[in-house]
């Protein structure tokens, strides 16, 4: 409001910084179903991704800096399309976690993932809808097609960011770089559905003690 100086240049600088910061916390999951992404949820080795990305109990994750780590699938929930992975590593660059419940329609959203195998690709859009949504159409999810209306009615974060296979399991973040969702499904070009961060946090809170499992 009232700003008359050039806003596009700082806007471009800030989106670039946002993408760069976010990419540090995004891993590549080689889990059997082609490629997917994951979010470093906790620095002590907890990585969250989609259930449909991991086909077996042991997968490989690749950090942004290039290191490949063996990961164990410690929990999964196909209903919410979530899977928790653990890597025996500490001091990982965990993403700050936001709150999808306070998002408003129209707020800017950035997604980072590896669409079509292109590493750390960022796309920008807005929050299109918050809360529960029933969809009449059918969705595509890692090559599998299913009717979204046939899936249990649940909470989604919907955005108009461009996503493609390879974004699955990757983050959607707000303008402060806080993760507000995990990309799960593309209903059609421009209709992206993500698991809201509070659902992911609830899932994480119910996990068995990670350290013990990993020992």
């Amino acid at each position: 409001m009232g700003l008359t100086h050039n806003l596009l240049a700082p806007f471009a600088t800030e989106t670039a910084a946002l993408a760069e910061n976010l990419a540090h916390s995004v891993v590549w999951v080689h889990g059997g179903h082609g490629h997917g992404a994951g979010v470093i949820w906790q620095s002590d080795g907890l990585i969250m991704t989609n259930d449909h990305v991991v086909a077996r109990d042991r997968v490989t994750v690749e950090l942004e800096e290039g290191r490949r780590l063996a990961a164990t699938v410690i929990a999964r929930n196909p209903d919410y399309d979530l899977a928790a992975l653990h890597v025996a590593e500490s001091n990982l660059p965990a993403a700050p976690i936001g709150d999808a419940k306070v998002l408003r329609v129209g707020e800017l959203i950035m997604a980072v993932g590896h669409p079509f195998g292109v590493k750390s690709t960022a796309t920008l859009g807005i929050v299109s809808a918050v809360g529960g949504a029933t969809w009449l159409g059918s969705g595509r999810n890692s090559g599998r097609r299913f009717a979204a209306s046939a899936t249990p009615k649940r909470e989604w974060l919907q955005a108009d960011v461009a996503l493609a296979p390879g974004n699955s399991g990757g983050p959607l973040a707000d303008t402060s770089g806080r993760v507000v969702g995990i990309a799960s499904m593309i209903l059609s070009p421009g209709i992206a559905l993500a698991v809201p961060s509070h659902i992911v946090s609830r899932f994480v809170a119910a996990l068995p003690r990670v350290q013990k499992l990993a020992a």
């Binding site: 806003l7 329609v105 129209g106 929050v127 809360g131 029933t134 159409g137 303008t175 402060s176 421009g190």
Partner: protein
């Protein structure tokens, strides 16, 4: 990350959400009982709603859901198939009409938001820019159609495309591939909505002839120095029609309309679409090997 310095990104994000909130009361859900609901725009505080005609399959027993969640009975006041618009009347007062963007402030490259209320999903929005502004004219007034790269979700039909001030620049209509949309420019929406409010229909210029495309004989083209290769042979003149009153006869070949060469029926339709009843037009015709001009006063179409 950027908490120390004022972040343009954060401010912009908040402003976008504010625009959506400001426009939200003017965006309604239109339920015609079919599988897919449409979106409508509050046009007047006393209950006029404008939407797409194709999104409303019946004229009665419609339900409008307002921003506050209340539901109201509505019916169709009038439709205009040329622009695919329908004006509805809902039994509610003190509604929030949409604000209008000034015509000259709608440019290719401007940031826009598409809004809709599809299904039971509440208010939804997508972002994009005006990708193209296609100019047209109606009654001498500039009008336009917009292309945008904002995605139109199913059920967005009839909703507004708004600028960053929350003013409508167009009414979302078609999707032309990969979800990207075409919006009818606000001036067109305004003139059609006004006509539907006043008359229940748009009274377009009507001639009362049936035509057939014919090739003009080469020797006539050469002797009359005509550059066009085709014309419209008049195969029927309706009784009492403006064409009959103006003296058009079966067998005349229409060459031009108000100085614009006519080489197919669509071109003539296009000319007529932009003219109102009561206007005088000049038709150049070929009759008996001679070119002559005929003046006709247009009437309103009855259907």
């Amino acid at each position: 990350m950027t908490n120390e310095i004022p972040s343009v990104l954060v401010s912009l994000s908040n402003e976008l959400a504010n625009v959506v909130e400001r426009v939200a009361p003017s965006v309604v859900r239109v339920d015609d009982g079919s599988r897919l609901t449409a979106t409508g725009i509050v046009w007047s505080a006393d209950g006029s709603i404008i939407t797409t005609s194709h999104g409303v399959e019946r004229d009665e027993d419609l339900t409008i859901e307002l921003h506050d969640g209340t539901r109201h009975a509505a019916k169709v006041v009038g439709r205009d198939h040329d622009t695919d618009l329908a004006l509805l009347r809902v039994d509610a007062q003190n509604l929030t009409p949409i604000e209008h963007a000034p015509n000259d402030a709608v440019k290719t490259g401007h940031l826009v938001l598409a809004l809709g209320r599809p299904g039971d999903a509440g208010l939804q929005a997508t972002i994009g820019i005006i990708s193209a502004r296609l100019e047209s004219q109606s009654n001498g007034q500039p009008e336009y159609v917009l292309h945008t790269d904002a995605v139109f979700y199913p059920g967005f039909s009839g909703g507004p495309l708004v600028n960053t001030n929350g003013q409508a620049v167009g009414l979302n209509n078609l999707v032309y591939g990969r979800g990207r949309g075409v919006a009818l420019g606000l001036p067109t929406v305004t003139h059609v909505a006004d006509a539907l409010l006043e008359h229940g229909q748009v009274q377009r210029g009507y001639l009362g002839i049936r035509m057939q495309l014919v090739a003009l004989p080469t020797h006539l083209r050469q002797s009359l120095n005509l550059s066009q290769e085709q014309g419209l042979l008049i195969v029927q003149v309706e009784n009492g029609s403006p064409a009959e009153k103006g003296g058009l006869l079966l067998g005349d070949t229409l060459l031009s309309f108000n100085g614009h060469t006519i080489e197919d029926v669509e071109e003539l339709r296009h000319e007529l679409r932009d003219l109102a009843a009561g206007q005088n037009v000049t038709l150049r015709i070929l009759r008996g090997g001679e070119v002559r001009d005929v003046n006709v006063t247009l009437q309103a179409a009855t259907s």
